[in-house]
Each structure stands twice: as structure tokens, then as C-alpha cells.
């Protein structure tokens, strides 16, 4: 296999991280969605790059599917379903962790991810693709999780989840050059159905609870 140019790799990983930070800093649903879409496009490109260097035609298909499903279908579904939801529910006005602190923590998480990968996978002989993308994918995972933990709005959590999925996809592609295609399709289908179900739930939630604020969904607890 050919050795890819470091600058392409660095650029693409920077692009992914920037998109992720976009989700962290923005407050509105539209903002998150566009950042996510941007991230997915970069991700598909990155996958194509990996496919190219690893010489795996299957991975091109996976990249294409990702592009179609994640960058086109999913945002469209989300937009369609949330049309009826009042605009005020789509804004993260008062997160548990302030935006400014969130950015700091996200940066820390990125550093943590690099350290973690260094620590855990150092013994294994990682190729240059993996060394570049694996830390990025782990950061995506952690930041996604952090977004889900620190935000109150249900929509923001969906976006966090999608970021995690992107991280996962990148992780798969970088570390093992993707799973078997049928599995990838299965995973993508799961994600797609998941998002559809989530959006149905969101619209029901806004009807029943008249809000998407998670603080209202605390009735099921023990005390």
C-alpha cells in the first residue's frame, strides 16, 4: 500500500475536530446540524482516502453510503420531523456546563484521547493512518458523550449521539479498514432507524411534555 501524505491526513483530522467543536460551541439546532453535516462530509472523504491508500474497494462503498445516509438522509429526516417543533425547544439556552467551559473540556478530552491512544495502543504497531485517525475518533467519541452529558436539550443529545457514531465509523475505518460491508450496512441501517425513532419520540415528547428540556423528563426515578 502507498504511504499517504501527512498533510492530507492532518488536514482531514483537523477538519473533523473543528466540526465537532462547532457542535460544542453552537446553541441552535440548525447550527449543530450544519456542523454535523460538514463533519460527515469530511468523514466520508477521509474514508475514501483510507480506501484509496488501503486499496479496499469495499470501503469506497461504505464511504458513499455514509455520505448518502449520514450527510443527506439523516439531516433531512431530522429537519422534517422537527419542523413542527417550536423553535424555542431547539435552542440550548442553559446547558449544565457553560459553552465556554465546554470548549475547554472538549479540548482537554482531545488531549486525553491522544494520551489514551498513546498509552493503550503503543505496543501495537500502528500504521500512519491509524496513528492519525484513531485519536481523532476517540476524541469524537468522548466529545459526543460529553455533549450528551452536559446538555439539557433532547435534540442536542441526538446530535451528540451522531457524533459518537461518526467517531465509531472513523475508528473502524482507521483501525481495521472497516468491517465487512454487510455489517457496515447493518450498522448504518441501525443508525438510520435509530434516528427515525428518535425523531418520532422527539415530536411525541414535544406534544406530550410541551418541551424538549430533559429536566422535565425526570419523573421516573426512585425517591
Amino acid at each position: 500500500m502507498q504511504v499517504p501524505q501527512p498533510d492530507i491526513l492532518t488536514l482531514s483530522s483537523a477538519g473533523l475536530l473543528v466540526a465537532t467543536f462547532g457542535v460544542v460551541v453552537r446553541r441552535s439546532f440548525a447550527g449543530w446540524l450544519s456542523a454535523y453535516r460538514y463533519q460527515t462530509v469530511v468523514l466520508a472523504g477521509t474514508t475514501a482516502v483510507i480506501a484509496y491508500f488501503a486499496d479496499l474497494p469495499e470501503l469506497y462503498v461504505a464511504a458513499a453510503l455514509t455520505l448518502v445516509i449520514k450527510a443527506v438522509l439523516i439531516p433531512r429526516i431530522l429537519v422534517r420531523v422537527t419542523e413542527k417543533i417550536k423553535g424555542e425547544f431547539k435552542i440550548e439556552a442553559n446547558p449544565y456546563v457553560s459553552i465556554r467551559l465546554s470548549v475547554l473540556i472538549s479540548a482537554l478530552l482531545v488531549a486525553l484521547s491522544y494520551a489514551l491512544v498513546q498509552e493503550t495502543l503503543s505496543t501495537a504497531s500502528l500504521d500512519v493512518l491509524a496513528t492519525t485517525y484513531v485519536p481523532v475518533s476517540v476524541s469524537l467519541f468522548f466529545i459526543g458523550l460529553f455533549v450528551m452529558v452536559s446538555r439539557r436539550m433532547a435534540l442536542n443529545q441526538v446530535v451528540g449521539l451522531l457524533i459518537i457514531e461518526n467517531g465509531l465509523f472513523l475508528f473502524t475505518a482507521a483501525l481495521t479498514y472497516g468491517l465487512a460491508l454487510i455489517i457496515e450496512i447493518g450498522i448504518l441501517a441501525d443508525i438510520l432507524v435509530g434516528v427515525i425513532i428518535a425523531s418520532v419520540l422527539l415530536s411525541r415528547m414535544s406534544q406530550t411534555f410541551d418541551t424538549l428540556d430533559m429536566t422535565r423528563l425526570e419523573n421516573l426515578r426512585d425517591d
Binding site: A54, L56, E58, T120, L121, T123, A124, S125, F141, L145, M148, A154, Q157, L161, I164, E165, L168, F171, T172, L175, T176, Y177, G178, L179, A180, I182, I183, G186, I187, A189, D190, V193, G194, I197, A198, V200, L201, R204, M205, T208, F209, L217, N219, L220, D222
Partner: protein, 522 residues
């Protein structure tokens, strides 16, 4: 000796001849069932179709198990599907509880319909989803590929979220949302782990990079090559998998979605969720534990499993003790039992694994029985609050008795089956010298016993109507067990509880033994 031979012979004309074909037809059955429900749409018809499809699934499962006992392993569809004793063991509660649950559904959903809680459309959708749920669950133990298994487990989440969402009330939506979010996050962790596993092979054999993508995720391949995996990577992979599937299996402290989802789902689904679905995730953990033990030796994974198991029991004990809602209490009891099973696997040894696998079956029976009974009870009393329910025995004698038997079973009272399993697990813990874990086990089980008895006894005994208590029960309630379709499944399950407590049939014993063998070979 195959005691279901007559049954199998009767079904033979309708079944594919080859055993590996049977795996495919097993998966096709609920798919066809779901399709038929969609096409016919009748309320009555969908119920009957579902019962038929689950019955067919059960029959096929039993035949498959017979084959497994004889041939040890089967594979189909170019190695995509694979079944050995361990998988067959998981298949058994899926098919068994699925069938009983389908029968119970007719009565339960019928009554929900009568009371106007659900309309015709909901009923049809319920049965569609029920079949889909069966399909996704059946897919888990028969898939040879880790990735496929992951997809199947994720699919069970999605289908069960839809089942919970059948009701449009606030609690159901909240529970469904939490379930969806937490389970998905958990499962994505698991996928990280799976990828790491796959990577650990790639690093072990760099030449096979390209082929790694395809077959390397197969159990048959991984467990055969477990010793040659990269130990450092496997270690972290296992942690991801454990926490990921642990979330889905309801191990504390990742269990948080479980009481919500299990208590808000329609009762037959609660039974499936608690009795069967949790096992599927436990199965995944077991599989990865086999591989990890093959690579690292059993000490590492044991330690992790024991920690999670003990924590689960502790959290469950606390929550059961203070429970106010009947179904939530049962859900926490599931957390407890997943903890016990995990402890059994963690203790290891023949007895520990045997006990854990036995416990999987025991718990499936006991918990589905408990949920059925609680469903009937809550329909009668029109509440799930423990404090409002009194004197079940006086109103529903049969339900009261089976509820009591089930309750005593899940707290580990002999002569019921769970005691036998717990005893084996305790024994293995002692022979391993895990005294801290054992003392925690015993302490928590006493607390759970105290808590459950505190709630259960006043529910079952006493007078249904007391001073100052306003319930839906009128002054002179008729003794009524809500129809034979509700009673028969529970009575059958209760019979199994008692039988397995004192006597384990030979085929089942062989199956568990073979499954332990699978474990030890890995």
C-alpha cells in the same frame, strides 16, 4: 434421549430437512409471522398468528437443540450463522418465553384494548413489533459474526423502544427516550470494543490485514486464535465490550434505563425484556469473556466481572428495599440476577459457569412469570403501587399463589430453581476463595430478601380492602383470575420453577454441560 421427539416428528413435514437450514427457517418464521400480521391486520388474527409463529419457533428451537446435543455445532449461510451449545442455551429462553408471552399477550392486550388504552391499530402494530422483536433476538445467538451480533442487539433496542412507545403516556415516552439514548451510547462503546478485538487479530497477524475485515470477526475464527491475539489490545477491548454490553444487560451502574423501560413497557414485553433480552447481552459478554480468557487467562476478565456483578447486586438491593412500584421492583430484581450471573461467570470454574448458565434459564422463567403475574394484578387493581395492592390471594387465588412462588424464587428460596443456581455460584466462589465477593453476595441477597418479603407478603396476604384505602377494588370483589389465557402461562412457568429446583432433565443438563465445555475450550 430426546423427549421432544414426538413433537419434532409431528412437525417434521413442515420443517426444512437439514439442521443448518433450520437456523434460517428459525429466523424466517417470525419474519413471515410479522408479514402475515401486517397483511391480515385483524386483532384476533394477529394474536393467533403470533402464537403460531412463536410456537413454530419453539418447536424448531427444540429440534435444533436436539441436533446441537448430538452434533455440538451447526453453521449455515456460508458461516454467517453458527450455533453451538452456548448459543442454543440462549435460544431456549428466547423461544420458550416468547411463546408463553405470545399466549399471555392475547389476554393482556385484549383487556388493554377493552379498556380503551389501545386501539386496533396499536394492537396490529404490537404484534408486528412482537414478531420483529423475536426475530432480532433470535438473530443474536445464531450469528457467527461479532458485527452481525452487534447489529442484532442494536436492532433489539430499536424494536423494543418502539414497543415501549406503543403507549403514548408520559412515562412511556420518557422511558423510551432514556432507553434509546443510554442503550445506544452503551452499544457504541461495545462496537468500539469489537473493532479493537478485530484489530488485535490484525496486529497479531499483519499479513492478513485485508482478510481481517471479513472472517476475523467470526467466533469460530476468534476463539480458535484467541491465544495469538494482542493481549494489550484485548484487555482494553474487553473493557469496552463489557461496559457496552453491560449497559444493555443492565449491570449497575449502567443499568439506569432498565427500571424505567421494563416498568413502562406492556407487560408481555416487560417479560421478554427482563427474561430474555438481558440474556442476549449477557451472551455477548460471555462470548467475549471466552476470547479474553483465551488471550489473557481468566484472572483479568474475572476481576472485572466480579466487580460489576457485586455492584449490580448492591444497587439492586438498595432499590428493591425501597421500591414503591411493583414492576420497578421486578426490574431491579433483574439487575440483581444479571449481577449474580456475572458473578458466576467471574468466579469461573465448572460450577461457576454451570451455575451462571443455569441461572440464565432460571431467571428467564421466574422473571417472566413475575411480570405476567404483576400485569394481571395491576390490571385488576388498576395500579402498580405496592402500597395500594393488598390481599391478592383473596381476589385472584391462582395468580396470588404463582406470584408468591415466583417471588420466593427470585429471592433464592429453595426448593425453587434459582436457589440451586445460586448455590452453585456460591460454591464456585468459595472454591475460588473470593471471600469478599461472597460476603457481599450473601449480604445483598439477605437485604433483597428482606426488601422483597416486606413488599410481597402484604401484597399477597391480608385483606384486599382496608380502612382508609381507596382502590379500584370494590367492596365485595369477585374471585377472578382474569381468564385462563392469563393463568395457564403462569401456571406452566411455575411448574417449571419447581421442577428445575429439584430435578434437571437430562437433555437440558447435557446442553448446559456442553455450553460450559464451549466456555472451557475457548
Amino acid at each position: 434421549m430426546v423427549w421432544w421427539n414426538p413433537l419434532a416428528n409431528a412437525a417434521q413435514p413442515f420443517l426444512p430437512t437439514s439442521s443448518s437450514g433450520l437456523i434460517v427457517s428459525l429466523l424466517l418464521t417470525p419474519a413471515v409471522g410479522g408479514l402475515l400480521v401486517t397483511l391480515l391486520r385483524g386483532k384476533r388474527a394477529s394474536g393467533v398468528i403470533t402464537v403460531a409463529s412463536t410456537l413454530l419457533v419453539l418447536v424448531q428451537t427444540l429440534v435444533l437443540i436436539g441436533d446441537i446435543i448430538a452434533e455440538k455445532q451447526l453453521s449455515a449461510f456460508g458461516g454467517l450463522f453458527y450455533l453451538d451449545a452456548l448459543g442454543a442455551l440462549i435460544l431456549l429462553p428466547i423461544a420458550g418465553v416468547g411463546f408463553v408471552s405470545a399466549i399471555y399477550s392475547i389476554n393482556y392486550m385484549g383487556r388493554q384494548h377493552e379498556r380503551g388504552l389501545l386501539d386496533d391499530k396499536h394492537i396490529t402494530r404490537y404484534y408486528q413489533l412482537f414478531n420483529a422483536f423475536m426475530l432480532t433476538m433470535l438473530l443474536v445467538p445464531v450469528s457467527n459474526n461479532m458485527g452481525l451480533m452487534w447489529v442484532a442487539i442494536e436492532a433489539t433496542t430499536l424494536v423494543s423502544v418502539l414497543l415501549i412507545m406503543l403507549y403514548t403516556k408520559e412515562g412511556a415516552i420518557e422511558a423510551a427516550w432514556k432507553y434509546l439514548i443510554i442503550a445506544t451510547v452503551g452499544l457504541s462503546l461495545a462496537l468500539f470494543g469489537i473493532v479493537l478485538f478485530s484489530y488485535s487479530e490484525a496486529t497479531a497477524a499483519p499479513s492478513s490485514v485485508s482478510s481481517a475485515a471479513a472472517s476475523s470477526l467470526n467466533w469460530t475464527y476468534v476463539s480458535a486464535n484467541a491465544a495469538s491475539l494482542n493481549p494489550e489490545v484485548v484487555k482494553f477491548a474487553f473493557i469496552f465490550v463489557l461496559i457496552g454490553f453491560g449497559t444493555k444487560a443492565g449491570l449497575a451502574p449502567m443499568h439506569t434505563w432498565l427500571p424505567d423501560a421494563h416498568s413502562e413497557a406492556p407487560t408481555p414485553v416487560s417479560a421478554l425484556l427482563s427474561g430474555v433480552l438481558l440474556n442476549c447481552s449477557i451472551y455477548a459478554i460471555l462470548r467475549f469473556d471466552i476470547v479474553t480468557s483465551g488471550t489473557l487467562g481468566s484472572a483479568f476478565s474475572s476481576q472485572m466481572l466480579v466487580i460489576l456483578g457485586a455492584v449490580s447486586m448492591g444497587v439492586a438491593a438498595a432499590s428493591i428495599y425501597f421500591a414503591k412500584d411493583m414492576k420497578r421492583m421486578l426490574a431491579y430484581s433483574s439487575v440483581e440476577h444479571m449481577g449474580i450471573i456475572t458473578l458466576g461467570v467471574g468466579f469461573g470454574g465448572f460450577l461457576g459457569i454451570f451455575g451462571a448458565l443455569f441461572q440464565i434459564i432460571n431467571h428467564a422463567i421466574a422473571k417472566s412469570l413475575m411480570f405476567f403475574a404483576s400485569g394481571t394484578i395491576s390490571q385488576k387493581y388498576d395500579t402498580k403501587a405496592i402500597s395500594e395492592i393488598k390481599g391478592i390471594l383473596k381476589i385472584m387465588p391462582v395468580t396470588g399463589v404463582v406470584f408468591l412462588i415466583g417471588g420466593l424464587t427470585i429471592v433464592g428460596m429453595p426448593p425453587f430453581n434459582i436457589f440451586a443456581g445460586e448455590f452453585l455460584i456460591l460454591t464456585s466462589g468459595f472454591s475460588g476463595g473470593q471471600f469478599l465477593a461472597i460476603s457481599l453476595f450473601l449480604t445483598f441477597s439477605v437485604v433483597i430478601f428482606a426488601g422483597l418479603m416486606k413488599h410481597l407478603i402484604p401484597m399477597v396476604f391480608g385483606n384486599p380492602k382496608g380502612p382508609g384505602r381507596e382502590t379500584a377494588i370494590d367492596a365485595n370483589p369477585k374471585r377472578d383470575d382474569m381468564g385462563w389465557l392469563a393463568v395457564v402461562p403462569m401456571a406452566a412457568l411455575a411448574a417449571f420453577l419447581i421442577m428445575l429446583g429439584v430435578y434437571l432433565p437430562q437433555p437440558l443438563e447435557t446442553l448446559i454441560r456442553d455450553a460450559v465445555q464451549v466456555f472451557n475450550q475457548g
